[in-house]
Symmetry: C2
């Protein structure tokens, strides 16, 4: 949508990779819409992932007992964080939507992107206490994880060896992004591009570009922590509450089936 | 236990920190038992977290299209990974037990430790395809996460704002360590030491030291992916199967209560 600002935080070493293609078509499609797109290409920037005292440009509160969180919080308030962190924070601050583009490493983001989260989303910038989850400082922004996996889709199901993909998304979508207030758009997961055919890879890239055409009309997914006891449920009309500890983006039919099933569930352990 | 080898992968910037104390008492107690203890002090080592082509000491298979996973796998087979990775792999290879000591950063490990996982636990060393999960290459070893949190224990419960702590452990315990074959000992979680009293902190450190006295008698926790349908459950005598997608270390009483509750559950959605 014309006028919107998008930050793509991109973590892949190879421009010609599948992740590189997903990043490229996103930039193209969003530019076509008139969005202002900024890309943080973390490997190209040789982005520092380690959270150390080098992140504090000014004087430390307590140089004899270094507490990273405390020092970063104070430095944030005094505008004395190191410049690479401030640069990224400015990009986040200006963005309406932040897209994270990465290959899944160990059920999570690559360390270089984890370091971006550890260092950029510091207390005082992204949240405070109080001032987290729904009142996190980035609550007027959208976030979207676009990731590729090594494993096939069927491995990331409830009965698959790796469990439902929503499980590994929890620390990222809830524990990190939602904690900072972000509204979360449904993840874009491209399963196993390395073992897909060239045609299938092209389809995955095309479907991402296609989705982006209407991205500004999407509603955030709802993140829920627990299945409420049955008595609560019967007083709720909100179907999404059925999700046990995870965020679902339910099809209405599926939600209706679940609602019916739940009437028979005694759930308390 | 005399003769056992332990690797502690330690990720805190400050030796005088609470994490530093937990690391120190672990070294002391395990030494007292006659174990050989090695510590990888990641910040002190300025350990590299970024997975880049610098990790390949030899010639790349395809310098024009860099695939980290493929190149690391081939380099591992040819013994041409960079020396800091090989050094860590040797330490893991020799260890009977690997303890990870870290403060929770964004529901996960700090980036410097994520980088250790990304780079050290490469294909060919820690797993292969096939050769993962129960047949992962590190299947004769134990792993244990010892971590501190910022939030209080009640935040990390099913009804707490951050959800059950087992949810954020999933990508680490199942997706990473179990994938490599490790048997997982119950996590040691020290909740919110920063807001605890000095006495409470001492108690937490002491209870960790106390636990380590009998650590070699502990049974690994069982990791389960899904709640089997009811008909399966009734044929099972194994109580641990009640866990929905997560690993539990259940008290027998709790397990018994759950077994009884489950008789009433219709679970299929």
């Amino acid at each position: 949508m014309a006028g919107k600002k998008v930050l793509i935080v991109y973590a892949h070493q190879e421009p010609r990779s599948f992740n590189g293609s997903l990043k490229r078509v996103a930039v193209e499609e969003l530019n076509r819409q008139g969005c202002a797109v900024t890309v943080s290409d973390l490997y190209a920037m040789d982005f520092e992932p380690r959270a150390t005292r080098k992140d504090i440009a000014g004087v430390l509160c307590n140089p004899d007992f270094f507490r990273y969180g405390v020092e970063a919080y104070e430095a944030c308030k005094k505008r004395s964080l190191t410049s690479d962190i401030i640069d990224e924070q400015k990009k986040v601050q200006e963005a309406d939507l932040v897209i994270f583009q990465f290959p899944l490493y160990w059920f999570s983001v690559p360390a270089i992107l984890k370091g971006w989260m550890d260092r950029v989303l510091c207390q005082g910038f992204a949240f405070d206490v109080p001032g987290f989850y729904d009142s996190g400082f980035l609550k007027d922004k959208l976030a979207l994880l676009s990731l590729t996996t090594g494993g096939m889709a069927e491995m990331y199901t409830k009965t698959g060896v790796s469990g439902d993909f929503r499980y590994f998304l929890w620390p990222l979508q809830h524990g990190t992004l939602h904690f900072c207030g972000f509204k979360i758009l449904a993840p874009q997961i491209s399963f196993a591009p390395e073992i897909a055919s060239e045609e299938e890879r092209k389809e995955m890239v095309a479907s991402w570009a296609q989705r982006l055409k209407t991205i500004w009309k999407e509603e955030p997914i709802l993140l829920h922590l627990h299945l409420p006891p049955l008595f609560q449920l019967t007083h709720h009309q909100i179907l999404f509450h059925v999700c046990l500890s995870f965020h679902l983006n339910l099809h209405p039919l599926r939600a209706s089936l679940i609602r019916r099933s739940l009437r028979a569930i005694v759930f308390k352990f």
